[in-house]
């Protein structure tokens, strides 16, 4: 496999765009990434497009019908919340394999204000089990993941709440974030309970948005970078949920993350201590806390202490091992298919001192990682280095 680099990135600020279409959002992100890379759509040889809610409607082709129908191969990817990052990985594999020198990945989603995700289905509603045989809705599922940590290690709701406070503080520095308001610990703890221990501010919002990346081989990078620093994709790992005892009733978000993380560190030849910043999948505050341990940022049982000691904060806020400078899914937003590419954009911007991250730059960042989990389950970990 060959080395692959991220030459350009683009992102449409996460938010609500009822007046726009999915191909429009994806096309805007793609054009920004192409401009950032200094190439045109005619230079792209392969395109992987991640989108969930229009997965049967050829979103990738419809984006090319907006920005340039060059006839290249297009793969439309759907992999739950890991949709965007899986599309990115497909583009990575296409270049790493030697088949293509220039590939594009786009993640795009338009969710609108649709409320709770999960549960339900067709058929007679009398046989819907939601609320009758417990809850399969995401706030409860991830609430239970946090409660499992409480059970094992005595973690308190305040620990989860601190994660939300930190995320919102980070988001105030990110112009691409859907929400940019600060919240206090009291605000978070006293907010409306959605599913214990997740209050409203511990749940990510729904929204719309898009992100794109241009991936190139080393030869292509030499031709096109013009001296610009561009990160190498040091590891691109995708896992699914292995058999574990309760996975089918209590989705196990940890085992597949741990496996992906271990494989990514091995492939990149780095360890958790080398990581300068992490974008992880904080769909709920409870999820972030368990992923501190899953990604090896702290030892098992130490995640509560890790957040207490500002482990996940930007250095300017007195933290170390910063997590989610972007504000994360909790504040930046989580348009499902866009998230996985947007996380990688954020890491790239820190590693290249891109002005799009200028107010929240992690100083001297050399190694960053982006983690995404799609329930059902799929997990990606990408490690990028400069």
């Amino acid at each position: 496999m060959r080395n692959v680099y991220v030459l350009g990135t683009g992102m449409v600020k996460f938010g609500r765009y009822p007046e726009k279409t999915v191909p429009e959002l994806g096309g805007e992100a793609a054009l920004t990434a192409l401009k950032d890379a200094g190439i045109a759509i005619k230079d792209v040889e392969m395109f992987a497009c991640g989108n969930l809610y229009q997965a049967n409607a050829m979103v990738g082709q419809r984006i090319l019908q907006q920005i340039g129908q060059t006839g290249i191969p297009v793969i439309n990817v759907s992999n739950a919340c890991a949709t965007g990052s899986t599309a990115f990985r497909e583009a990575y594999l296409a270049v790493a394999s030697g088949m293509y020198d220039t590939a594009m990945a786009v993640g795009v989603e338009q969710m609108g204000k649709q409320g709770l995700l999960g549960g339900a289905g067709g058929g007679d509603p009398a046989y819907s089990v939601e609320g009758k045989l417990g809850s399969g809705l995401m706030p409860a599922v991830f609430g239970q993941a946090g409660i499992e940590h409480m059970r094992k290690y005595g973690t308190k709701p305040e620990h989860f709440a601190k994660i939300s406070v930190k995320s919102h503080k980070h988001a105030t520095k990110n112009p691409f974030s859907q929400y940019r308001n600060e919240v206090s610990l009291e605000d978070v703890l006293n907010a409306r309970m959605v599913a214990y221990p997740n209050t409203l501010y511990m749940c990510c919002p729904t929204g719309d948005g898009a992100a794109a990346a241009i991936l190139v081989s080393e030869d292509k990078l030499k031709q096109l970078a013009g001296g610009r620093k561009r990160p190498k994709i040091a590891a691109s790992v995708l896992t699914s949920d292995p058999y574990t005892e309760r996975d089918l009733t209590l989705p196990d978000v940890s085992t597949l993350t741990r496996r992906a993380s271990r494989l990514a560190y091995e492939k990149a030849g780095v360890g958790p201590k080398d990581i300068n910043l992490t974008e992880l999948h904080d769909c709920f505050a409870t999820a972030e806390l368990v992923h501190y341990e899953n990604l090896g940022l702290c030892s098992d049982g130490q995640a509560g202490e890790f957040i207490d000691k500002k482990g996940g904060c930007h250095p300017d806020l007195g933290g170390c091992a910063p997590v989610k400078e972007s504000g994360g899914l909790l504040s930046k937003g989580h348009p499902l298919g866009a998230t996985g590419v947007a996380n990688i954009c954020e890491v790239v911007w820190h590693l290249t001192q891109d002005e799009r991250a200028k107010d929240r730059q992690v100083p001297n960042a050399k190694v960053g990682q982006a983690h995404v989990i799609g329930l059902g389950s799929a997990c990606t970990v990408h490690i990028l280095t400069v």
Binding site: Y127, S128, G131, Q144, A195, E245, R246
Partner: protein, 148 residues
């Protein structure tokens, strides 16, 4: 023929196939004859742990008692679902866990003192959850604190 007989039956219906109502309500599952893993989806084609195919499976009846592993208190749900309620993952002694509502426990108290819920011994109870389009009663199961 069994399916046809069920279709004309006017009695109550279980909300999920792994709940059997006769002779008294109980849960059933399939057990892998090779590795012993238990699954609640009765139509499964193979064991996702060891790969044995369904020829090795046998149907087993599960205990009506268990212990709560974890829970959450749901405050926001679909229209028509009364909140707050407790959703729980219950470990059965047979080696499988099920998801269900935990009843007869105050949701607010559970949030205040989550520790009291962990490992709580519970037993299964059934109730009418809805009526389907044909007018059949739909039976669901829940867990409540066990007396012993």
């Amino acid at each position: 023929m069994a399916e046809q007989a069920q279709a004309t039956d006017s009695g109550p219906r279980p909300i999920v196939p792994f709940l059997k109502l006769d002779p008294k309500p109980h849960l059933v599952a399939v057990k892998c004859g090779n590795c012993g893993s238990i699954f609640m989806d009765l139509k499964r084609v193979a064991c996702s742990k060891c790969g044995s195919t369904k020829e090795k499976f046998s149907q087993v009846s599960l205990s009506d008692k268990g212990k709560v592993y974890v829970f959450s208190v749901v405050h926001q749900s679909f229209p028509g679902i009364k909140t707050p309620y407790i959703t729980a993952i219950v470990d059965l002694p047979d080696g499988v866990s099920v998801r269900a509502n935990l009843i007869d426990v105050d949701p607010e108290a559970a949030q205040k003192e989550p520790k009291q819920i962990f490992d709580m011994p519970v037993e299964m109870v059934t109730h009418v959850a809805a009526k389907d389009r044909e007018g059949h009663e739909v039976i669901a199961f829940s867990y409540k604190p066990s007396k012993n």
